[in-house]
Symmetry: C2
């Protein structure tokens, strides 16, 4: 199977009703992944190479996979680009207000301690 098809077939996403809170908490408990989510809250969809994070591509791919498998982000292929979006409606439908509570707490956190 060509590499591009293997990559495409790896883009699995849980249904909204299957999003698990502990997976979401785990996905958010990392500074790079938190930066990805905060960036997406400000902008609906971004190409994968455009996030303001300073990690190796393979590490970034890992972080995207954790977020995707937890149901936090949706990714789609478009030719040679992979686009990433926040599943805000799905998350809010499942856990109303929770993502905003966590992101707001993180802003408080970032203002009080170096992070």
């Amino acid at each position: 199977m060509p590499r591009s098809q293997r990559r495409r077939s790896a883009l699995t996403h849980p249904d909204a009703a299957e999003i698990d809170l502990l997976d979401v908490l785990h996905a958010l408990a990392d500074p790079t992944r938190m930066t990805i989510v905060r960036t997406l809250r400000a902008e609906p969809e971004r190409a994968c190479g455009t996030f303001p994070v300073d990690v190796a591509p393979s590490t970034l791919t890992h972080h995207f996979r954790v977020l995707r498998e937890a149901g936090v982000i949706h990714q789609r292929e478009d030719g040679n680009r992979r686009w990433t979006a926040l599943r805000l409606a799905d998350l809010d439908g499942r856990f109303p207000g929770l993502l905003d509570s966590i992101l707001d707490a993180y802003e408080t956190n970032a203002g009080a301690v170096a992070s």
Copy 2:
């Protein structure tokens, strides 16, 4: 140094102002640790052997340490017993309403999927 003193010296707790959101999210992202926290929300302080969790003592000690070092729980020695309490005031002072939001979301979660 006697074993009891070594154990006692290991009970370090972060100051309330140093509680880090990502550490808290990581600490809560586990079913055993979530059960400990939910149990403590219903009861101010419990002896360590009395939590409704089915894990080996060494595993439980690990989970308590993760929660303690994240600032989620406080532990104290009293003779041969170790007592555990939720740092609800410290957490609410640092991240108002967040713990309740997460625990409420977990109730929703538990009602919708097996967890």
